[in-house]
């Protein structure tokens, strides 16, 4: 069940109430049962796969804990990573790899009938696979202790708020909490509920509303002119931010209701003044994971190549990031474009820094605004490939944007609502970024102000949200 379904709205309060009734020792097993039931509700067959990956992870880490020889430990680690990656590869990438090989052979005139697998992608596999790998590597690096309670390991990989679409959590953050699950304090419940309320607003009012326009334009590229495509492309990053950011907030809020602190996933990404800063604010849990487990080892291995080592590491890391998003050439292109952006930035970093110092631009609001704008536009351009079905389509769109002028496609009702909702979201983000202590509504000391603000957001959701089951972009990951 997705977070925006009625079933979840009934299921969740019951889960929280029961969580607080169950004795402390049983809480891990209770949540494990609930998470497995939640998963079984969607894809009962693949629950077996999740259980197997959990068992493998548990067994590999406990084995590493018993071994002293570093070489042997490393081999166990590698074996564990391969075993855990195998299902992800089979379900997500097998067909794509085979098609690509087939296409490559076709170039040399060799036709081969490559086998395909027609299985549905298991929900959350990209997320729990990464979490399992992270845990295995952390054990090898002695960053965390081996978790002996299999219930905790099982819960870590299946925890229902985060299994569907993240944030991608870490053993170091989760296990101490899972091994000391405490009751929901009143402030946990209110803080969690507020986060969920705002998350629902972002998803149902901003993301799903923008999607109506963006999908209408991108769904019929031949029919729409460059101006409409340009506008839709500029709206798309905002849509994704509201979609994944909102969904993550609901997940974080849900966990918070049970006294748990989950790592954040977004930090007002559009206030970034450089691409590298954007990537420290956008899908943070994924980037942190990629930095710690992919980028750092590779850049370490290539450190003698100096700045070119950084460039290669960046390209590889973002290539993997692209591939993680989907088994398609468009995602690879998207990833590579990010890599190129960041590489260029890394190469000119010193020059830019000197230029800023020389002209005293660091605190200049106009300069900051321009930087944010340029970063946003560059990001939007790269996102075109994330949105389109094929790379050719992506190029078509970009070409049309720069060559085909015309009157913009106007769906005044949709754009009107979207404008209001984006304004509300922008107001909150601006306030949080520049004046975090002023004009607080959800955290006002006056209960009347707080209640009115919850009421207002609730009204926006019910009266102006898109409540006809909008599709969540990151769902089949």
């Amino acid at each position: 069940m997705t977070f925006t379904s009625f079933k979840f709205l009934l299921f969740f309060p019951l889960v929280v109430i029961l969580y607080n009734i169950v004795p402390k020792k049983a809480r891990v097993w209770y949540l494990l049962a609930v998470s497995y039931a939640f998963y079984a509700f969607m894809q009962p067959v693949y629950l077996v796969l999740l259980a197997i990956v959990t068992l493998v992870t548990y067994w590999i880490t406990r084995w590493m804990g018993c071994v002293d020889d570093d070489n042997k430990k490393r081999k166990i680690q590698v074996a564990g990573i391969i075993l855990v990656l195998l299902p992800l590869f089979l379900f997500k990438y097998f067909n794509f790899v085979n098609e690509s090989i087939g296409a490559l052979l076709g170039v040399w005139g060799i036709t081969v009938n490559m086998p395909t697998i027609q299985w549905l992608l298991p929900v959350g596999i990209s997320f729990y696979t990464f979490m399992a790998i992270g845990y295995i590597v952390d054990v090898y690096n002695e960053e965390v202790n081996v978790e002996k309670n299999i219930g905790s390991v099982g819960l870590f990989l299946s925890f229902f708020p985060i299994i569907l679409s993240g944030p991608i959590e870490r053993a170091g953050n989760m296990f101490p909490q899972l091994n000391n699950l405490r009751r929901s304090e009143p402030q946990d419940l209110t803080a969690g509920a507020k986060m969920m309320l705002w998350g629902y607003f972002m998803k149902l009012c901003v993301a799903d509303r923008l999607a109506l326009y963006v999908d209408a334009v991108f769904g019929n590229i031949a029919h729409h002119n460059g101006t409409s495509l340009a506008f839709a492309s500029l709206l798309y990053p905002i849509q994704v931010y509201a979609d994944l950011g909102g969904y993550s907030l609901i997940a974080i809020g849900a966990a918070r209701c049970m006294g748990m602190r989950i790592i954040p996933n977004f930090n007002r990404p559009f206030f970034a003044t450089s691409m590298s800063e954007l990537w420290r604010r956008w899908h943070m849990s994924l980037i942190q994971w990629l930095t710690d487990y992919i980028y750092t080892p590779i850049s370490f291995a290539l450190r003698s190549w100096k700045v070119w080592g950084i460039v290669v590491s960046l390209m590889l890391t973002f290539l993997i990031s692209g591939v993680w998003h989907g088994a398609a050439l468009t995602f690879i292109v998207w990833g590579l474009v990010q890599g190129v952006y960041l590489s260029i930035e890394a190469l000119v970093q010193k020059k830019r820094s000197n230029f800023e110092k020389k002209h005293n631009l660091e605190k200049n609001p106009i300069y900051i605004f321009l930087c944010c704008l340029i970063v946003f536009v560059l990001f939007a351009i790269s996102q075109v490939f994330g949105k389109c079905a094929t790379v050719e389509e992506g190029w078509q769109v970009l070409l049309k944007i720069f060559s085909d002028r015309g009157t913009m496609f106007m769906d005044s009702s949709t754009l009107g609502y979207a404008g209001v909702m984006v304004f509300v979201l922008a107001f909150k983000d601006l306030r949080d970024e520049f004046f975090p202590t002023k004009l607080r509504f959800f955290e006002s000391k006056y209960i009347v102000v707080r209640f009115l603000s919850y009421l207002f957001v609730l009204f926006l959701i019910v009266n102006m949200g898109v409540l006809d089951a909008g599709q969540f972009i990151y769902f089949q990951f």
Binding site: S412, Y454, L455
Partner: protein
């Protein structure tokens, strides 16, 4: 439990405030809706149809009906009062609600129902969105409830909220209060001035979706039975389109022919692409006659009506 007492009390108070606000919202939006609609006589068509009119002849349909069939001409020819209930974007479920809303209140002599080859096919996403036009009648009419349930699985739960009843309607009302609506003439006919621009003259080919919707069919049969039992005459009319198309093999069309036979309903189809009307000067766009074509069509229609129904004898 003590530690949760404070938060539970606050929650209960908040829920009470939410419910109260929701009810107030409902009243406010209904007020706004009427204010917006009353600003445009054309906009009041649905309200009038459901609550007011007592005409002998009632024209049901979407934009093709409201812009093409002229009540004044029919009245002069048939000698009966005529009202055009047609309204832009109102597809099957809304038309169905209109017919039922009329025969709830009185028994008209004739219902002229503007249909098309895809009349019994599944409503599009846009059509489903438009369904919210009949939200105000939700609590009172079962057929409105049935129609709105087709929007989504838990629609009846969502419709408990008055604020949801008017979801995404605010801008429509504000727009209607400020912007001028269609020109309006006697009997709720809305003439379309002007002709097709050259760019639109081009591609006249129309491809129909071939899909029969069982829910639509079921509700349609219910309504026709109702009409039959009340002695209301029904006629199906194909309003002309400036298109090249072939609908003989469309499931929805074939089923409609069967249903018409079963209920002894006359279908007036020969005006659909008749030579007298296939002139680009008579059309505003491929699907709508303009203010020059509409009178010509209505005259031809009234002649056909008189002929097929032997109206003067029957009425």
């Amino acid at each position: 439990m003590k530690r949760y007492k404070g938060i539970l009390v606050k929650l209960l108070i908040f829920v009470a405030i939410v419910i109260a606000t929701d009810i107030v919202c409902g009243k406010f939006f209904r007020f706004l809706e009427l204010k917006a609609l009353s600003n445009s006589p054309y906009g009041m068509t649905l309200e009038n149809t459901m609550w007011k009119i007592q005409s002998d002849v009632v024209i049901i349909g979407a934009s093709e009906a409201s812009h093409s069939i002229i009540p004044q001409i029919l009245e002069d020819s048939l000698g009966m009062s005529v009202y055009n209930c047609g309204k832009d974007g109102c597809r099957f479920y809304i038309q169905n609600a209109m017919v039922n809303g009329v025969i709830d209140r009185y028994t008209p002599k004739l219902i002229i129902w503007s249909v098309g080859p895809d009349f019994l096919s599944t409503p599009s996403v846009e059509d489903k969105g438009n369904l919210s036009q009949i939200n105000p009648f939700y609590s009172e009419k079962q057929y409105v409830k049935d129609a709105l349930k087709t929007k989504s699985k838990y629609e009846s739960v969502k419709l408990c909220s008055k604020a949801y009843l008017y979801n995404s309607r605010l801008f429509v009302y504000l727009y209607k209060m400020i912007m001028p609506d269609y020109e309006y003439e006697y009997g709720a006919y809305a003439p379309l001035r002007g002709t097709m621009s050259d760019s639109k003259l081009g591609n006249r080919e129309k491809a129909w979706k071939n899909h029969l919707d069982v829910n639509v069919e079921r509700e349609f049969l219910k309504t026709l039975s109702r009409c039959q039992s009340r002695g209301v005459n029904v006629v199906f009319v194909f309003v002309p389109r400036f298109e090249i198309e072939d609908h003989q093999n469309i499931q929805s069309y074939q089923r409609m022919i069967e249903i018409a036979e079963k209920y002894n309903i006359t279908i007036i189809e020969d005006l659909y692409h008749c030579n007298d009307l296939m002139n680009s000067a008579y059309f505003k766009d491929h699907a709508h006659l303009n203010s020059i074509g509409a009178p010509i069509f209505t005259s031809l229609l009234s002649a056909e009506l008189k002929q097929s129904l032997n109206i003067c004898d029957k009425m």
